[in-house]
């Protein structure tokens, strides 16, 4: 069956899932969930983190086996038992983390996948098919480019192309735009729209309601493992209704009040940082951050933000320039001196650089206090004090899903972030460096993060907020600057910042 045969509506749905239950080790992820996808449609699957969106799509493609319920493809109820069987039935999934071999070229990846699906072909044949398909879909992709050298957007195109070449008629994309710039996201969504118009069925797992409005025919909304809105028409519907269904409540976002900033707490002059491969990541960056204010640094990911955070944290050296923390010279200071001066860091990847998943909550909370002597002298660690401190933090920050002895790795993203906030935003925090602090969190947890940052700043701290999420920046910051290719634009007050002006700065046109 080719896509062109399938454009007729009114046939059996491409994918019909009914009464799906799935639990992980006793914790239900899906409860009686359902999904119905038609050919020719782009169908959005919306919900907060942990709502079960990825899980139900993984059940559809037989990555997970459902505990109960049925999955019917093209009207046939044949059980699909492996992702390979799902693929041969026409179900292809583009995961958040691409399934490509970085060291291989695009053509080699395609040849590998085709071979694995029992359709071996030569490399030149694979390259020819990549070129043809790319031309057909109207995008550029060099079949002989090594995947690891490609940009994220190009890798994603390669992934989509690979799944299509494997014969997918039902395409599932798991939060495809999360890693893309606005322009790249638009291009991808246009591609997706086109694939559906050619007769394929596309399921688009997403957080972003504006993508639903612009590009989707139907929307299914999930909350807490259940389907709360099934295959609703998008045309003519009110997005706010969808939002309310997805999150249960809409947060009111308070605008940042004008502040009279205090003493400068973080002064950076002409800072330059290199990446591990020697290329320049941050170049001649200067800023001054005062007590009581949040300075937002907007910008597309990959413009030097993680390197700036690592350098300020004391994890990687500056090649030029100076950094002063709370009045003290700290350019080459080790982590401890920075932290003693009041530095607090909320890195973008908390499980990699901030929390230790295998250690209990109490010990994660004590990580920055033990070496300062907050829990007793070197040879005698006061574990009871550690536990009490953790109990207090768990209550104060409303950390759910575990007690003082629970390994931090078992917490959900939102609760893990609250744990990190409890540790970093203590009374000693004077300079807070927060990088995408609400990335991947649901609205409720995002709000908790934002409230905690505002609270800390009200109490006299200063916050450098680095985020790719413009809305987060606009909601929190008193002043805004844009980072592009390692350089920082002049900060402007939030009132003067328009989305257009910032967009232009991000794209490097201003």
């Amino acid at each position: 069956m080719t896509p062109s045969d399938t454009s007729g509506r009114g046939r059996a749905p491409a994918l019909l899932m009914r009464d799906i239950d799935k639990a992980f080790d006793g914790h239900p992820a899906l409860t009686g969930a359902g999904f119905r996808l038609e050919y020719g449609h782009v169908h959005a699957l919306v919900g907060e983190n942990g709502a079960g969106k990825s899980t139900i799509m993984n059940v559809a493609t037989a990555v997970y086996a459902a505990d109960a319920g049925e999955v019917i493809v093209d009207g046939y109820g044949t059980a699909l038992r492996t992702p390979a069987e799902a693929l041969s039935a026409g179900l292809g999934m583009v995961h958040q983390h691409f399934r490509l071999v970085g060291r291989f070229t695009v053509a080699e990846n395609v040849a590998l996948a085709l071979g694995g699906a029992g359709q071996p072909c030569s490399l030149s044949e694979a390259a020819r098919r990549v070129r043809e398909k790319a031309a057909e879909l109207d995008f550029r992709l060099d079949p002989h480019a090594r995947v690891e050298r490609l940009s994220i957007a190009e890798q994603q195109r390669a992934e989509v192309l690979r799944v299509l070449l494997l014969g997918a008629r039902i395409l599932i994309l798991d939060e495809p735009t999360a890693v893309l710039t606005a322009a790249e996201a638009r291009a991808l969504l246009a591609l997706v729209r086109r694939l559906a118009d050619e007769g394929r069925a596309v399921a688009l797992v997403t957080h972003k309601l504006h993508e639903v409005a612009g590009y989707c025919d139907r929307v299914t909304i999930m909350r807490q493992g259940r389907t709360v809105l099934a295959a609703a028409e998008v045309a003519g519907a009110d997005l706010n209704d969808f939002a309310r269904l997805a999150v249960g409540e809409l947060p009111d976002t308070p605008r940042p009040a004008p502040v009279t900033p205090g003493a400068p707490l973080l002064e950076i002059e002409n800072l330059s940082v290199r990446r591990g491969d020697g290329s320049a990541a941050v170049e001649g960056l200067s800023l001054s951050l005062r007590a009581g204010e949040i300075l937002g640094i907007a910008g597309v990911g990959g413009n030097g933000q993680p390197e700036l955070v690592d350098c300020l944290s004391g994890l990687s050296p500056a090649v030029a320039g100076t950094v002063r923390l709370a009045g003290q010279e700290a350019t080459r200071a080790p982590v401890r001196r920075r932290r003693r001066a009041g530095l607090a860091v909320i890195p973008a990847d908390r499980s990699d650089s901030a929390l230790i998943g295998g250690l209990p909550l109490a010990q994660n909370l004590a990580l920055t206090g033990v070496w300062r002597g907050a829990f007793g002298p070197f040879w005698w660690l006061n574990k009871a004090r550690m536990r009490r401190a953790a109990e207090t933090a768990i209550t104060e920050r409303d950390i759910r899903g575990g007690g003082v002895a629970t390994p931090a790795g078992l917490l959900s993203g939102g609760n893990a972030q609250k744990l990190l906030l409890a540790r970093e935003l203590g009374p000693g925090a004077r300079v807070i460096v927060a990088h995408s602090p609400s990335r991947g969190l649901d609205l409720r947890a995002t709000r908790a993060v934002h409230d905690a940052l505002r609270q800390a700043v009200r109490e006299g701290a200063a916050c450098l907020l680095i985020s790719e999420d413009l809305e987060e920046i606009m909601t929190l910051s008193n002043r805004i600057a844009v980072m592009n290719h390692g350089r920082l634009s002049a900060p402007m007050p939030v009132a003067e910042a328009s989305a257009q002006a910032l967009g232009a700065l991000m794209a490097g046109h201003a």
Partner: protein, 353 residues
């Protein structure tokens, strides 16, 4: 076609399950080893007799097992300490050789007064072991050179150096054999009057107790856990990551060096080419089976000591090669590690939807 079962990772592993899998793996491994020995002609009943009764339940056997356990426990502790901070010390035998060389050097040159000779030999052996792991440690911390290769290679260098000494300057001139002359009485660890058991057992117990206390009550244990699990997060939180790794790895080398000194001063009374034996392999096996827990190291080393006691008997009476002891260790390590699969994952048959 039979369906492959599904492996589902457990969010939490209950303690009893972990213990059950461990015990199951151990029993299976021992059963396979027993079967192997029976196939080699050792009658079943005498296997029981040799393995359990003569090694653990008779006075002679027990003292022999405890004596064999002493160096095993020290290398096991050393291996476990390094493993805790993610450092692969594959040079255990090299550090052990260097410790033995240091102790012998003190003896041969008659350094220090007689009363302090033995303590000096032990302390110097610790320093020698630590120094021998110090170079790979430096290379790893400074330039990220894989310690698997460097420690292993330095192990060979240490052994070759021992041979150089024994066939050269240190050869026993009275007998002409390639070993050092034997130590003076004050250079030997005192016997406890129970078989060959010597005061090294107190060293082992003391070191273990000290290690357990330090790990449980001081910042060292706290830092070690954090650094072992996630060095980047530990560094970002301000923990002394390099210091922790260096401290534990140097302690690891020191204990392996001490093991060498304990062998030459406690049982051999001279440096010979045979003392290094299988300690590299056994040290790693012990640390793995004990899951890097220091008290458990003591237990595992005791059991493994029994293996060696049995191995000697089997070699003498049934003509079974000594290599069987290593083989048995290998089998048990394999089955215990494999059995962990059942505690890490839940296994389900595929439901036919």
């Amino acid at each position: 076609m039979p369906e492959a079962p599904l492996l589902i990772r457990r969010q939490r592993v209950p303690g009893w399950l972990s213990a059950l899998c461990y015990a199951g793996g151990l029993i299976l491994g021992l059963a396979i080893a027993a079967g192997l020995l029976m196939a080699l002609g050792v009658p079943g009943p005498s296997l029981w007799d040799e393995f359990i009764v003569e090694t653990f339940l008779t006075s002679d056997g027990l003292s022999q097992t405890l004596t064999a356990m002493i160096p095993l426990a020290l290398v096991g502790l050393g291996s476990a300490l390094a493993m805790r901070v993610g450092f692969w010390n594959i040079g255990i035998s090299g550090q052990l050789w260097m410790g033995a060389v240091a102790a012998t050097w003190v003896s041969l040159h008659g350094i220090g007064p007689g009363a302090l000779r033995l303590p000096l030999m032990l302390v110097l052996s610790c320093l020698a072991g630590a120094a021998w792991v110090g170079l790979p440690l430096l290379l790893r911390l400074k330039w990220n050179v894989s310690e698997v290769i460097t420690t292993l290679m330095l192990g060979s260098i240490a052994f070759l150096w021992v041979q150089h000494l024994l066939f050269g300057a240190w050869r026993d001139t009275t007998t002409g054999f390639a070993n050092s002359r034997s130590f003076a009485p004050e250079e030997r660890l005192p016997l406890l009057g129970w078989g060959h058991l010597h005061a090294g057992i107190w060293i082992v117990l003391g070191v273990t107790l000290l290690g357990v206390l330090v790990m449980a009550t001081s910042r060292v244990g706290f830092y070690a856990r954090a650094v072992g699990l996630n060095p980047r997060a530990a560094r970002a939180a301000g923990l002394p990551v390099l210091g922790t790794i260096a401290g534990l790895v140097l302690a690891s080398g020191a204990l392996c060096g001490l093991a060498g000194a304990v062998i030459v001063t406690g049982t051999e009374y001279r440096l010979s080419q045979t003392i290094g034996g299988d300690y590299l392999f056994s040290g790693i096996v012990i640390a793995f089976l004990a899951r890097s827990q220091l008290l458990a190291v003591l237990v595992v080393a005791f059991v493994l000591g029994g293996f060696y006691t049995t191995g000697n008997v089997l070699k003498m009476f049934y003509g079974v090669s000594e290599a069987v002891v290593l083989l048995t260790q290998g089998i048990v390590l394999l089955t215990v590690l494999s059995a962990q699969l059942f505690s890490t994952y839940r296994i389900e048959r595929r439901g036919n939807a």
